[in-house]
Amino acid sequence: MSLDIGVFDALLLTGVLLAAVAAVLVPRRTASVAVFLVFGLLLALLWARLDAPDIALAEAVLGGGVTGALLVDALASKQPHAPPRRLWTVVVGIVAGTIAFLAAACVVSRLSGPTGELPRLVDDQIATTGAEHPVTAVLLNFRSFDTLLEIAVVMAAVFAATAVSDRSWARELSASGELRTIAMALLPVVALLAVWMLIAGTTRPGGAFQAGAMVGAGLVIAHLTGTRHASTRGRWGEALIVVGLVAFILLAFSTAVAGEGWLVLGESWASAAILGIEAVLAVSIGVGLARIFLANRNEPGEAR
């Protein structure tokens, strides 16, 4: 990865910075969401430039896709009149921000060089983890506890969103003919992509999260285009959301009781376990994110 700053790099960084400032400053909601989507896209490019393809994928799908859908959907309700801050507080805020930035900058510049100790450890242990791609190995073997908790966070978010939203579920949207055909065309592609990304995860950038987000996006499209079976309501929906975490914990318990210890994946069956877990995680994240989207979906009017 060439470290010297090329024209493209300079453009990219300034683009990201400008998009960030614009996303925050622009007064109208719709414009702010639009600029934020651009910011998400540029960020994805930046991650690719920083040689982190997984993250670029995730940013594109999650940042742009799911969060974007949520934000655009939130535009439906009108912008309540929020009192503008007094000029004085704005100035103080900006000054404080710059001081904080300068402090952070000088701290960051004083950082000592990378020890590179952990990457070396990852490389010489990766053989036993059952996943060639280092990021997936870290996520699903070395630091599998973090991933487990992250799924718990998603599950908690789903509980929270459903608890907060009124119980009245968005009814099936009756969509016009064209949308239905689009859905027919798009959904299989999305499903295929999701499965491919899941499989690729063990060897190339990809994995549970990106696949999960794809599944989520697919479900959202399905819901918006009114296809019947896309509903994640009812017992099945709840079960699918929870299955990821339950499977992961049961795996942990079984390895603790039967295997050598919590979440210790034996070399022989590690890759199978990882793939299995990733599949279940993908389903759970997908249905979970879709459910969060649905929870936001019911228009306030209908909510009463």
Binding site: R110, E117, L118, R143, L149, V153, F159, L245, L250
Partner: protein, 483 residues
Amino acid sequence: MRYPALLPALVLLPLLLSAMVALVPRGPRRLAGAAASSITGVLGSAVVLALMIDGGSWEFALAGWEAPLGITLQADGTSTAFLALMTVVGVAVTVYAAAEPRLAGGPDFWPLWLVLWAGLNGVVVAGDLFNIYVMLELVTLAAVALVALGGRSAAAPALRYLFVGVVGSLLFLLAVALVYAETGTLDLLQVTAALEPGPVLTAIVALTLLGMGAKMALFPLHAWLPVAHPAAPAAVSAVLSALVIKAGVIVLWRIWFGLADDATAVRALGVVAGIAGAVAVFWGGAMALRSSRLKQIIAYSTVAQVGYFAIVLTLADGSAAGWSGGVVLVLAHGLAKAAMFLAAGTLAVAYGTDRLSHLHGAITHTPMTVAALGIAGISLAGLPPTFGFVAKWQLLMAAIEQGAWWWIGVLLLGGLLTFGYTAAMVRATFNRPGDDEVPAPHRVRSVLAVVPFTLAIASVVFGVFSAGLVDLVAEDPTVRGHG
């Protein structure tokens, strides 16, 4: 007698149970939730007992990978104390919520409560910095959802709490990033050994102070607490004030006493934190005196008590008495605050409101609840023979060891202020002459009075028989690490 393998179960079991309880239809969910919570409580107390008997500190490397690569969980004396608090208050809140669903916010309470409990246990035993970040997010998310259960008007406070929580988490995540950039490892013990004094360390400590200050509502960043805690259902606000605040406290203490050293910048931060703490004590107390609603008074009292936790940063620097005083203060505050909020909930059920002006006659009709409120207030004020007094005693000793007479003033005057608003609350429940016959408007189930009362009595019993617990906590590795 060492079972470090039990540590992950503290987090994973409640999560598993929460997932299962979520699948139970809304009707019998209360029963399932109560059963699940009691299982978690039993597990928690088993681990705490084993830790106490063993006395040492346990480490456990997850997924079989040692420190820098994998995630380790570690439980020392302090975590034992925090775990004990979370188990005791957890069980009490479970019984309370099971008895009166209205005070827990309906059936949605149970899965979120189990997730919250898992997160709290996780933060206390976590040994890896990023793991702490994820645990804190889990706790904040669950806590926000629980606050939102308090009805439609609770949405705004819940959102405000979420914003502050997430900002706090981001600041902490930046600190974690700096730690990794500087030392190349995320394990707490390795980081404390590897980090040398310098601008980076000061930045890390400052960011953690800011981040955790937001999460535990330390003075300048406290505005969300007096809005969020009263809006939540009673059982939830008890958990928030008694336990969730402590998650931020233990992370701040672990990192502060692990990393802080005699560098002037860090010492200056300590003074700033101390001043913020002192202002919090007096401001919280004054606001509590002025407010006219029970739950608001108790919420402001939390803001005041959090001020003490910040003062402990300077008091416990290198003094075992200060450290044990701080931890005992956390426990005493936990017990007392849970008792107070649950008692307020019971009074709200009995009298339909928590406005002080409408609580006349409560002392005759719900004597146990008012007694719980009074005793808890006495423990918060740090008056003998309660648990709070033990904490105040140790902190005063630490203050004198360091010759910091101004902290003595804050500690003593803060106690008086605390007693001021406790007396105001108890006084409001006396019956005006002649209306003794007016019964409480709604009958209250006895469980709702017994639970806060037992917590209050527990703080008296611990106050007298506190030797065992204080010894357990006194010699804590982080203090010896650099003290």
